[in-house]
Symmetry: C2
Subunit: 242 residues, 2 copies
DNA sequence: GATATCTAGACGTATAGACGTCTAGATTCT
DNA sequence: AGAATCTAGACGTCTATACGTCTAGATATC
């Protein structure tokens, strides 16, 4: 049995998971409907119950099904925005929605890190950082002032790149850091004079302020960003799980 | 062995998970450091390897540790705000930070659902909903105007409950709906006259506006909420993964 | 010295069985 | 009829074992 598995190179639990997913997404199993019991599935696929459970566990993580102790496993409601908790960037999101995107580089400099930034990036105060200030347009309307700080030591060559057309994240990857996680703080603020001018809004207009740290796969902080978004042109959707 | 477990009522894998968490948070195991192998842990705690794996799996989900196939299990970067992608409510968050919380019920009524709300709650336009409007205080300062809509049919008895001292979520659970997921949209807005009065701020002051749908475990939408937060007193932190 | 191979250790997948606990519905008793 | 109890079925926890696969470092080879 085990050898058969290896021949195809796909673990049983993955096969079962995908089989169940297909049943659900294909509509054979509808919202709220009970899956066969773990015991039944085990017999049906000729595997042990633990293996079935492992497959189902993945589907639970995805929110596709849920278990009720003593009752059974059921298909969950397939709500559209299941994956809005995923980290995406401005360019990805906008282009997926058919919005044209541009960036204008306002400022680019290397300087010593202030305390706040050094702490966020886990470097020493005074270590060199690259500061990248861009103004971002959606359909030719200025929407976001973006101020990113990255450790100079990680990305020395970054200064030679074209920062208007390439997204920072793809550059990070080129230097070996794959973006994995972002922790971001959101606030509502008022536009000051500079913002008002840049974003072509009134002074005091609402701004969705976002402060975030981006981490690579291994936990290295690669970017600290202040992001000022026009309140009337920008909203953010996230999904949270309990 | 198994009976011992039951005597204390806590599964082994939970004990092991918490023991490891304590080691990590207590600083005995530092960032990047290798945990004892699963084998070793199994011996150490007198359980089987699968049980250890189950405990570790939870910590991986939390992002506290990560596994490397063929190498070992390691402590991940302990970034402070790790669990901010978890869904929590106002009361939980605030009380964890030692802030006193109060709610004042402003309005409670049953009415037919408007189109926007019906769609979000997956009910028919005109179906009855309960509208619960509360003003929430943190340390006696009004911070949030909270306007929740719940399907009347799900929670008929809700009207008899004390909505100022009990949190809605605990009430949902009492009626058999466990809160699982929230999809929320965030925007920056200006305070209108009503908000300005209620939140004791200037008209036009920035508001962090949050619109969200809360889903139960089985995917049923149980609550649709408009949430107006004082920009100067409220910020929201989320973690996103790629 | 550089390269290829081997190997120990660690995680990955899987089994078959056992007992615990919970839920809903059936049964029994009042 | 209503309440208390019982029970079958389903998920929850756990074991002891086995073999697969991967990684890093040691060893051997060129």
């Amino acid at each position: 049995m085990f050898v058969l598995d290896k021949k195809e190179g796909i673990p049983f639990y993955v096969k079962i998971r995908e089989a169940l997913r297909a049943e659900i997404e294909g509509g054979n199993l509808k919202r709220g409907q009970k899956l066969p019991s773990e015991e039944e599935l085990a017999n049906q696929y000729g595997v042990s119950r633990m293996t079935v459970r492992q497959g189902i566990a993945d589907l639970i993580d995805e929110g596709l099904v849920y278990r009720r102790h003593g009752v059974g496993t059921f298909v969950a409601f397939p709500h559209v925005e299941r994956d809005h908790s995923r980290l995406t960037n401005f360019f990805e999101t906008a282009s997926k929605e058919g919005i044209s995107v541009q960036a204008r580089l306002l400022d680019l400099e290397v300087s010593p890190a202030r305390q706040r930034i050094a702490k966020a990036l886990d470097i020493a105060e005074g270590d060199l950082i690259i500061r990248i200030k861009t103004l971002r347009y959606a359909d030719d309307v200025p929407v976001t002032l973006h101020e990113a700080y990255v450790p100079h030591v990680l990305f020395v060559k970054l200064l030679e790149e074209d920062l208007e057309t390439q997204h920072l994240w793809t550059l990070y990857e080129r230097y070996g850091y794959r973006v994995k996680r972002a922790v971001q703080k959101l606030e509502a603020r008022e536009a000051d004079h500079e913002l008002a001018v840049l974003l072509q809004i009134e002074e005091g207009a609402p701004i969705l302020f976002k402060e975030r740290v981006i981490y690579a796969e291994d936990g290295t902080p690669v970017e600290f960003t202040y992001c000022y978004n026009r309140g009337d042109r920008y909203s953010l959707t996230v999904t949270l799980e309990r």
